[in-house]
């Protein structure tokens, strides 16, 4: 047995558990502002992810216990569930989760080997394949006449045959979607923003959800589970790109604060872009990764075919990681430069 013979008390399970804990403020805020429906989605995604993980581990000849206990499948399930509309039908949740675990994670080699963030692959597949179902967001309770209870939410998710009138009463476009649609209707940003779904910075309710994700993210940073580079660069990328566009034409481009206070941005910055497996590893690389994801998010939101761009931005940056890492190898002790750039080596 080799040295060292002692270990710090850390484990993959512990890392993943802290990520789940850091998501709890977001989940709690979600329930408080949007109703308990998200709990059904989270539970269904969790069960699906664990079952898919167990099946894939068995198929690949890996021991199920240590790999199920690492909690990484649950993290993927929760991140995907929190990205989905809260009243998405069950089969949408199951399909997305299965795709995330089976294809994006295990077919690429399992824990630590996947190139793309599994949750974002699941999300991307769903939004490309089922764009209508992917917009069934429950509105914030503040704006909803008849909020759904837990059982009602469950029967919407599992039943699917809920009276359409009731469904229309509880679901609405997300603020980002509303802005996008409004702009397409040749309205100015200010005109769109007068609608009731917009709050102080982002959407009513949504901005608080974003704040809760931010809080959880800061907890992860304080625990050194994530580094500061990725979230900061990500938020800076959003702010700079949105700010630049807004500065030149405030009528056609949303304010940077509005873009920042979308829940997807905070979730992406602190929980998804920071995924170590699919992110850059060098300090400078992390800055480039975060900044790139932020810029791409605004570009996709503004000119792309979908209301939000976080998932696609992160997937595109995932693709660039090997290049970013190779180009940003830091100086080592003793000053040897990376040999790729050192002619004497």
């Amino acid at each position: 047995m080799p040295a060292p013979f002692i270990l710090d008390r850390s484990s993959v399970t512990q890392v993943m558990a802290w990520v789940l804990v850091a998501l709890l403020p977001g989940v709690a805020t979600y329930v408080w502002l949007f109703g308990p429906g998200i709990l059904v989605t989270l539970a269904l995604a969790t069960v699906t992810a664990l079952a898919a993980e167990a099946a894939m581990l068995k198929a690949r000849g890996y021991p199920a216990k240590p790999f199920l206990a690492d909690l990484s499948a649950i993290v993927t399930a929760w991140l995907l569930a929190l990205s989905l509309p809260s009243l998405a039908p069950w089969w949408l949740i199951v399909t997305g989760t299965l795709f995330a675990i089976v294809v994006a994670k295990h077919l690429y080699g399992g824990l630590g080997q996947n190139i793309f963030n599994p949750a974002m692959v699941g999300y991307a597949v769903l939004i490309v394949s089922f764009p209508v179902q992917m917009t069934q967001w429950a509105g914030p309770l503040e704006l909803t006449a008849t909020p759904l209870s837990l059982t009602q939410s469950a029967s919407v998710i599992f039943g699917g045959d809920f009276p359409k009138a009731t469904l229309d009463a509880v679901t609405m476009a997300t603020p980002l979607d509303a802005l996008r649609t409004g702009l397409l209707q040749q309205l100015t940003v200010d005109e769109v923003m007068t609608r009731s779904i917009f709050g102080h910075y982002g959407g009513v309710g949504f901005e608080w959800l974003a704040a809760a994700f931010l809080l959880g993210g800061l907890l992860l940073w304080a625990l050194r589970i994530i580094s500061w580079q990725v979230p900061l660069a990500f938020l800076a990328g959003i702010w700079l790109a949105a700010g630049f566009l807004h500065f030149f034409d405030a009528g056609r481009f949303g304010a940077p604060w509005f873009h920042l206070f979308a829940p997807s941005v905070m979730l992406g910055a602190f929980f998804i872009a920071t995924d170590p497996v699919t992110g850059a590893t060098t300090p400078r690389g992390k800055l480039i990764f975060g900044l790139g994801a932020g810029l791409l998010t605004i570009i996709i939101r503004t000119w792309g075919g979908f209301p939000d761009g976080v998932a696609f931005a992160i997937l595109l940056m995932n693709l660039s990681v090997p290049l970013i890492d190779a180009w940003t190898q830091p100086r080592i002790y003793g000053g040897a430069k990376h040999p790729d750039k050192d002619p004497s080596a």
Binding site: V277, Y333, A336
Partner: protein, 555 residues
Amino acid sequence: MSRTLFTFKGGVHPPEHKTESNTQPIHSAPLPRHLVIPLSQHIGNPAKPVVNVGDLVRKGQMIAAADGYISAAVHASSSGTVTAIDMQAVPHISGLHDLCITLETDGRDEWIERTPLDYLAMAPTELRMQLRDMGLAGLGGAVFPSAVKLDPGAAHLCPTLIINGGECEPWITCDDLLMRHHAADILQGVAVMRHLLGSTEILVGIEDNKPEAIAAMQAAAARMDFAVEIVPVPAHYPGGGAKQMIQVLTGKEVPSGKLSTDIGIQVFNVGTAHALARAVHHGEPLISRLVTVTGHVQRPQNFEVLIGTPMRTLITLAGERDGTTGVLMGGPMMGVPMPSLDVPVVKATNCVLVKSAELFPPLPRAMPCIRCTRCADACPAELQPQELFRFAKAGDFGRAQEYHLFDCIECGCCSYVCPSHIPLVDYYRYAKSEIWAREKEKRASDLARERHEFRQFRIEREKKEKAEKLAAKAQAKRTELSAAPAENAATSEADAKKALIAAAMARAQARKAEAAPKNTDNVSPETQREIEEIEARRAKIRELARKPLEPKEKN
């Protein structure tokens, strides 16, 4: 005392476990019946035995001489009889046996005549050779021959001399105790180092978890006739590594692939300074050292131990306990597991750490790397351990080397912090040894290829020469034939060919006949007789070999 300190990147804070052993005074381990003294206790060439089995030796007598410049002599740690010079188990990571001299002690512990060295009057080269012959090697763990390190070279000056009292590894306290109790001796050794290296700045770095040692060293430093600065440094593993100590004290980095002397700094362990003082002022070669015996024993403490004492003796002295799961030489971060308890204490043995399942639980199952880069944050060499791991695991040793594998100091910080519990250092050692093996193989194959290419060239050349000769001959024949009157002009071409073939066959036959005779034919009568004599001797030997061996003498 307000020196500006610097920090090194990375590092970890494992539990220190120093108080188990540093609260006890130093005891001398008793003289064992047998001492097993390995000939390769230092880096460089193994020492060459200068005694034979059966010889009586005295304590401090050289029993194996240094072989070459990078080598150190080995001495009898006590008086007695040489009973064996053979391969024995030694405390080495390879677990292989190595050549050792075994002494049966006579209990009298009789010294050789010890003559102090008047080092100020000696020529530096002479003094260094003397120190090499007294077996001095670095006692911090690397056991590099001290005489070599004390040579500043023609061009190199060593303005800064750093004495390393860091002792950052958990559990180990031998340097702590040495500084507490032998501070003055250590500084006497430092005076000799300073003299040989021409150093003007002398810094003693001690981690601040050793306040007694710092106080003792400061008191001793105040009594010296040259300036020595005792510098408490933050306790932070691996702050006792030479490169890290240099960085903390001076803010300088040793350039990759270079030595600290290239930036005018030399580093010695406090134990080495102490051994040097014993050698110079008391004429005692390096035959003993302080060893911490700690971990899963009843009375953890430090012993003054003769080189060659079996580790088992020390563990028994400290009180063996049930539930021992193994023994390490060194600390838990960089220590080496011992193949058995019969291995001897050597110059590199700073600690005998006895393991138990409670103190050192078995390492958990390794999970896949999740690229969290905690290892990179912890790496004092500022490498990207996760990339090195990936390359080593994939067998991509070239890339591993490009990512500075050989700048890794194997401190173990990366493995310590890894949430996936991957034995990273093991992968790096594996990659390094693979690269070394391949380089060796490559050198051998380069040589073989050169030889092969030359042979091919020679064969080609000979073939060409032969072909040219044949062509010339054929041409001659052809002209000869065509010169003859061409009666059957139509068949002359075929005839010519036939004639050529016949001639070739005749030549081949002649060559065969030529080749057949042995080289024993056509020799002079003297040579013939010699050959016959040799043949007769060989026959006799063959005859002897066929007979069963008879014991030469009966006991």
